[in-house]
Symmetry: C2
Subunit: 288 residues, 2 copies
């Protein structure tokens, strides 16, 4: 197992450059958050690795082997995506049966147990499921497959808060029982902040950063208090963003914190929040 290497990947759709020379490694046995704005190129990257799309240039290696048109490499990965690839008229329980026949490793018994836990009626046809239950159905298929590389693209779309929490617990249990590489692309960043070890941020088709969540959160801090006091403290420091509420302000600052100066100023110190940091790092001109 050497993981997944993304090598100088470029992909255009007409005039639109979806990915531009992206290189990145997903190491074996880690949980990744693949973050990016809508349209940043996340699904394109995962789609190329899963052989659903062809790159214009560059390649993806899975355990050292090309991912493109290579059954042996593709058998090691499963991609759950927003796009529904199951026959719409098929009943959920028949998809489970079919998955067992197609993938030797599919655990149909566990799938039935999870369906019951989530209240998924397996007699329903795929097309009859609501947005939330379509996600639940696809998540169950993904979690019951024993493959070393799992891609989850917007896994919790439409799920209620209880089902999202159940899914996060299940994913961690699944990972603890048998560690594998899990790549989660999601817009609910704060909810997965405690789940993921590493993040890769893609912005407008380019890799913005790839590092551990801990090191990213340790790269800065927040100070809050009266707007004037915060401004005085932050002067000359690398402020990446601010929130204002009435006369109060929170500033998001990169660098290490001067605790003594902070104590003297009477301002409140807090940790960076992953979602907030992401928003500040990927803000476009004209956005507030």
């Amino acid at each position: 197992m050497t993981g997944i290497q993304i090598q100088e990947l470029t992909k255009r759709f007409g005039d639109n450059v979806a990915l531009q020379n992206v290189s990145l490694t997903f190491q074996p046995g880690k949980i990744y958050g693949l973050l990016g704005r809508n349209g940043a190129g996340k699904s394109t990257l995962l789609g190329i690795a899963a052989n659903r799309l062809f790159a214009d240039s560059g390649q993806v290696l899975i355990d050292g082997e090309p991912a493109c048109e290579n059954d042996r490499a593709q058998k090691k990965l499963y991609m759950m995506s927003e796009k529904n690839l199951y026959p719409k008229d098929m009943r959920v329980r028949d998809v489970f049966r079919w998955s067992e026949r197609f993938y030797g490793s599919f655990d149909r018994q566990q799938a039935q147990v999870l369906a019951q836990q989530f209240g998924l009626n397996t007699k329903k046809r795929v097309k009859e499921l609501s947005t939330g239950y379509t996600s639940i159905f696809k998540l169950i298929v993904a979690l019951c497959l024993d493959v070393p590389y799992l891609f989850l693209d917007e896994p919790v779309l439409g799920l209620d808060a209880n089902h999202r929490e159940m899914f996060y617990h299940l994913l961690l249990k699944n990972y603890a029982d048998e560690p594998r590489t899990i790549i989660i692309a999601t817009h609910l960043i704060e909810e997965v902040a405690n789940l993921i070890e590493e993040i890769a941020i893609i912005d407008e088709g380019r890799l913005l950063m790839s590092q551990s969540v801990q090191s990213l959160l340790d790269s800065g801090y927040c100070v809050s208090g009266k707007a004037g006091d915060v401004d005085a403290y932050a002067a000359g420091k690398k402020v990446i963003g601010e929130d204002v509420l009435g006369g109060l302000k929170t500033a998001y600052i990169l660098g290490s914190c001067d605790r003594q100066a902070l104590c003297d100023s009477g301002l409140e110190l807090s940790k960076l929040n992953l979602q907030k940091l992401f928003v500040e790092l990927t803000k476009k001109e004209g956005e507030q």
Copy 2:
């Protein structure tokens, strides 16, 4: 303006009871969170008030007038829902034009400004928009209408974190400029916790509670620390839920906090979190 009265509303779909004798008041000029699990009956309730569905029994009054088949009452409200009611082949800018002609109060200039802020291409046809941009398009229409009652059903589905934050800011600005009744049904509870003043929770078609967010959050507290210490402190108290991580535990407790006992125990005290509280209050048998 006397608000919206929901009076003993019952609605069945075949064998499924979507709403059972629900009575509830939405007061004028407040922002409400209408919370519930998937399938709890939120959209059915809003749909009946917006005259898209008929109740089996009970009624909805808007400023004292029946909402059902009543143009004068319906002109006071607008419902943004997951269901797309716009012609799919129409271009976004033509929907804006049409909205201006249909609703005298639609602010087309502001709609164009917001479209630019969100990066929505108004030349695109409705059917060409992604999940996220479909939500953005519908939100812009909703925010630019000057009606006293606004229903937003899953307003941020598919939006990235930046666009969600922009939307929350816009909604608050819109409300500050001209207070009106806004009812938000969403699964992203923690993100709207600071936005909403009042909540109504519907569970399996029945009203579970309707009160101010502040009073709900003040009704209990969390304690965290070593599992044994938390158990000892919580014994005999009304524990509505627990989270365990390794040897550590957080207990969610209803009632007022005995600060002295808590100090002596060395446990950490924190506020209830609205999403967590919701999850615990609406957990079903068999869910973890």
